[in-house]
Each structure stands twice: as structure tokens, then as C-alpha cells.
Symmetry: C2
Subunit: 307 residues, 2 copies
């Protein structure tokens, strides 16, 4: 079962020729989720050859233009390409209103079902769950209401040892019980111990998406620390006053949060265009938290399934 | 004095990884104009290293999403980068309303002056003129009100022969008269013939932008045929019924209009994504009008100044 993240864009409010606006594609157990949708996202999806029409869920963190302006174009394209599958959309009310307004002036009524859900400013907790994951929304600190998203893979059953199954051909009911960790007594009286014929379930993989915000350890530390944390690092310490004033974080602050929460790896993004060379941004963060990378257009993380 | 066109995007409603949505950058006498502004235009401007902040005038042909969704992002970026120079914007009322709505929900009030001018559905004729050109708006046929734009360079004065000026040092007043084609009588009684010391003025260069529309020769043939005509060719003849139904043109129809109007060269664009290979589109048009090209992202035309 896969668990993959693809960075579509990771600039802050202003895009550059190579670093586009906030958007990420998450695939967990072959289900697809889009986190934010800055201008140009539909083009980035095509460039990365991601299955646009199989997108199941779209989450918008907050109502700032660089995080949602790609929404009308993406939905229009899905419709023009004859999408019929429903799409779940979680977004602040202002974004949904904007979409309504767009539809009213263009007459682009989508022929697929948009399952809209307002992300209320004070919402906190389990946002949704499906077969493959649970998604929690956590409150962030920004000039407008903003949410971070934490994704935890759902634990599967124990994994049957292939050799044993092929040699013994147990019935469906027995297989189910063994995967649940239960021992099975066959008709001939033989007892099969689950522990002996199965391996432990895969470890839960997890991902966190925290942008745009001041550092909010208090929001996340009630949840298990994630394997990979994407955290905004719009500024460096030299512009900390500006970071505070505009509701953003410095690279050092992002790294401090990653260290204190105890995440596996930190991925920095949402960079201000003022930093042409991002090496010092990375250096600043690495002085606090070593396992740290810079996001870029097309950066892809494939989290392996481990037992 | 320059006269250049850069194609930023030329796909129809759906962008591809390499062919983005409608937008073109026109530079005439070092003044800059943007024709349409599909999603991602601000990124294309950066990729082509065009002087975004020196843009003086922006024209939106009609209120379909693939022609204006890049507008809020482009204007926001100009503002974030501290633009102070005014920007002229001609657009249908629905587009200006959309922009208003965007501003109201994001609070992105631009600090530079937006000189808005509603492009009324029935407007026809001289839209504006400045030092370097005259721009005419012509009515097109599409499901929503739509305008084409014709740009004619303004004729400059006759061009003084450099050698003669350096040898004779005439006064400012005499130079002005000679450039206007008038002969000059000096104080010593010598008569200087304008024809002898000047060359004829440069030929007027011109460009036409006609998209999205059925062929409308009747709209343009009251104007001089342009040097370069960009005309939409969303479909091929095999989909002519669809072209008629959706208010678009086939490549053959675009070529017929180009031939009948007598333009210099034809540039086809606004291609449907159904044609993966565009060679047959070009072939269809060339069977009618030989001097024909396919637009693509980054295609640039530099019209030389000729006498």
C-alpha cells in the first residue's frame, strides 16, 4: 500500500518561474488528496502526470489567494474532461463563496457532485476518515482562520506469511481470524497460532501539513508526531519581526517545532521570494534539526511500508 | 522602435503541461500590453523574463474562465512587489465584478491605481490610443460577449539622414519641419528639400488578436489587414458542427478569413486538447493560406521596422 507526497508548489504569495504556489498531492492506499490549490495547480498536476480525475478529496487551509486561486480552473477542467465521480472539498466559507460567485458569473455549473464542507474557524479534531487514513485538522495562527492537516494511515491487519498460506490453504474465515491476531482451531483439532503464521501489521505512516502559521506546538503535540512534517518557513531569523507581524514562521522556528514534537523528517516550504539562495534557510533549520529538506516543485516523498 | 509579440499560453479551455491558457504579451515602442490573462499568466511572464511591473495596459476579450482567471493573482503579485504605476484594464463587466468580489473576500486592496474601463458588449471602434499605437476593438461571435483587438502602430515622422544632420547642424525648428515633410528656407536663403535629407517614415506595423469566435470577416474588413493575425483554431473541419455550436472556428475557417482579409501571416492558437498532434491542424490551414504557423508557449514574433 502506497503513501506518497508530491510537492506541486511551495512558494509563498509570489510564485517564481520554477517555484509555484502552495499545493501538494498526497496518495495513501491509492486514494488521492490535494492540499491547497494555488494558481496553476491544474498545470502542475498535468506536469507531474498525476491522476487528476481520481482525486477524491481537496482541502484548503485558508482563504488567502495563493492557496485557493487554482480551484475554479481545476474544477472546470475536471468537468470539461467529463468527471462524474464526486469530489469532497473542505474549505473556509469565504473560499466556497468565491467558488459560488465564479460559477454564477461564468455559468460553469459542474456536472459532478461537489461535496462541500465548510471548515469552520474553530474546528479542531478528526476532519474525516476513509478506508486508508484519518485526517485531523489543527488550528493555526495567521491573520485569517487557518488549519493545518495531519494524516495518519490506518493500521491494517497482521500480514500472513505467504509460504504458509500456499502450503496449507486455510479457509477464508481462518485467514480473517489469523490476520486479526486470533489463533484458529482447525476441524482436525490442530491449533494455528496467529503469531507463528503472520507478521506484525505495517507501521502507521503519517504526514503533517502546517502552513501558513506561527509555530503552534500546542496545536499538534496532542497527536503522535508525524513521520514527515511540511512546515512553512516563509522567513529567516533575520526577518523574525516580520514573521511575527504577518503570521508566519522562520526556518529556525519550524525546526524547533519539529524537534520538540519529535517528527521523523522536516520539509520546509512557502519560501519568501526575497531569498534567492535558499541554502542559508536550510542551514538555519539544520542547526536545530538535522533531518531537514527544502521543498521544491516536483519533490516527491515515497514513504515505504515497514513492519 | 520595437514591435514584439510573445505567446504566454495558447490552449483552449483546458491547459496541457506545455501549452497554457490564453495570454499574450505585446510590446510596441517599449510600451507593454497584455492580451487576456488565463490562469498561470503571472508565472509565464516570469518564465519569459518580461517586465511585469512595466505593463501598462491589460485587455480581457471575454468573461470565460480560461481568459481571465490569472487576473487576481497577477494584480496581487504586482501589488506585493510594490507597484505604484497605474494599470489600465479593459474588461467585460463580469470580469471586473469578479475582481471586486475577490478583493472583498481576501482584503487584497491594491495600492496602485487600477484604471478600469468596462468593455461594453456592443462597443466597436477605437478603444484607446497612446504614443505608439491605436487599438481597435471589434465584435466577435461567441456564447458570451467577446471582442477582438487590432493594434496599429502610429506612423512616425520622416527619418532624417544622419550624415546630413551631422554635417549641417540645422536648428531644432528646421529638423521638426523636415521630419514633417516640409521644405525649409534657411536665413541665408538656401532651401533644404525634405525629400532630399530624409527617408520616408517606417511602415505601420500591425497585429490582430481574434479569439474566441466564429470567423468574423465582416468585423475586421473595414480595417487595414494586419501584418500578423492571431486567430483561434479550436477545432478542425472534422469537428465543424461542434465549432459552430460552441462559437469557435476551425483551422480552415481561420485561414479563409486570413486569405480574404489579406493579412501578412497567420498564427493559429486556442487549440482543443483533443488534438494531440497539431500537424494536421496546420496542414488544414495551409491548404488555404500558406503563411501560417502554430502558436506555442514562448513563441515570439519580432516585427522589424521597415521603410
Amino acid at each position: 500500500m502506497n503513501f506518497e507526497i508530491t510537492i506541486l508548489g511551495c512558494s509563498s504569495a509570489i510564485p517564481t518561474a520554477k517555484r509555484w504556489l502552495s499545493s501538494q498531492w498526497l496518495t495513501v492506499h491509492h486514494r488521492h488528496y490535494l492540499l491547497d490549490c494555488g494558481e496553476g495547480t491544474q498545470i502542475r498536476i498535468r506536469q507531474e502526470k498525476l491522476p487528476m480525475q481520481r482525486l477524491q478529496c481537496l482541502l484548503i487551509s485558508h482563504a488567502h489567494a495563493d492557496h485557493f486561486l487554482g480551484l475554479p480552473g481545476l474544477l472546470s477542467t475536471m468537468d470539461l474532461l467529463d468527471r462524474r465521480q464526486p469530489l469532497r472539498l473542505f474549505a473556509p466559507k469565504a473560499v466556497l463563496d468565491f467558488l459560488d460567485y465564479y460559477i454564477s458569473i461564468t455559468g460553469n455549473v459542474f456536472r459532478f457532485e461537489l461535496q462541500l464542507q465548510v471548515l469552520e474557524p474553530d474546528f479542531e479534531g478528526l476532519l474525516f476518515e476513509d478506508k486508508g487514513l484519518q485526517c485531523y485538522a489543527v488550528p493555526l495562527t495567521h491573520p485569517v482562520p487557518c488549519h493545518g492537516f495531519l494524516f495518519y494511515e490506518k493500521v491494517g491487519g497482521r500480514k500472513l506469511k505467504k509460504d504458509w498460506v500456499e502450503a496449507n490453504h486455510p479457509g477464508v474465515q481462518a485467514l480473517k481470524q489469523l490476520k486479526q491476531g486470533k489463533d484458529v482451531c482447525l476441524e482436525n483439532g490442530t491449533v494455528i497460532l496467529s503469531d507463528e503464521v503472520t507478521d506484525p501489521p505495517a507501521q502507521v505512516r503519517s504526514y503533517g501539513y502546517l502552513t501558513d502559521t506561527r509555530p503552534r506546538l500546542d496545536s499538534v503535540n496532542k497527536y503522535d508526531a508525524v513521520d514527515i512534517l511540511y512546515h512553512e518557513a516563509t522567513f529567516m531569523e533575520m526577518h523574525k519581526t516580520r514573521a511575527k507581524k504577518t503570521g508566519h514562521s522562520t526556518a529556525k522556528e519550524a525546526a524547533e517545532l519539529a524537534r520538540q514534537w519529535g517528527v521523523g523528517s522536516l520539509l520546509l516550504g512557502h519560501f519568501s521570494v526575497r531569498y534567492r539562495d535558499l541554502a542559508p534557510v536550510l542551514e538555519e533549520a539544520r542547526s536545530i534539526f538535522a533531518d531537514c529538506r527544502l521543498a521544491e516543485n516536483g519533490y516527491r516523498i515515497i514513504l515505504p511500508q515497514t513492519t
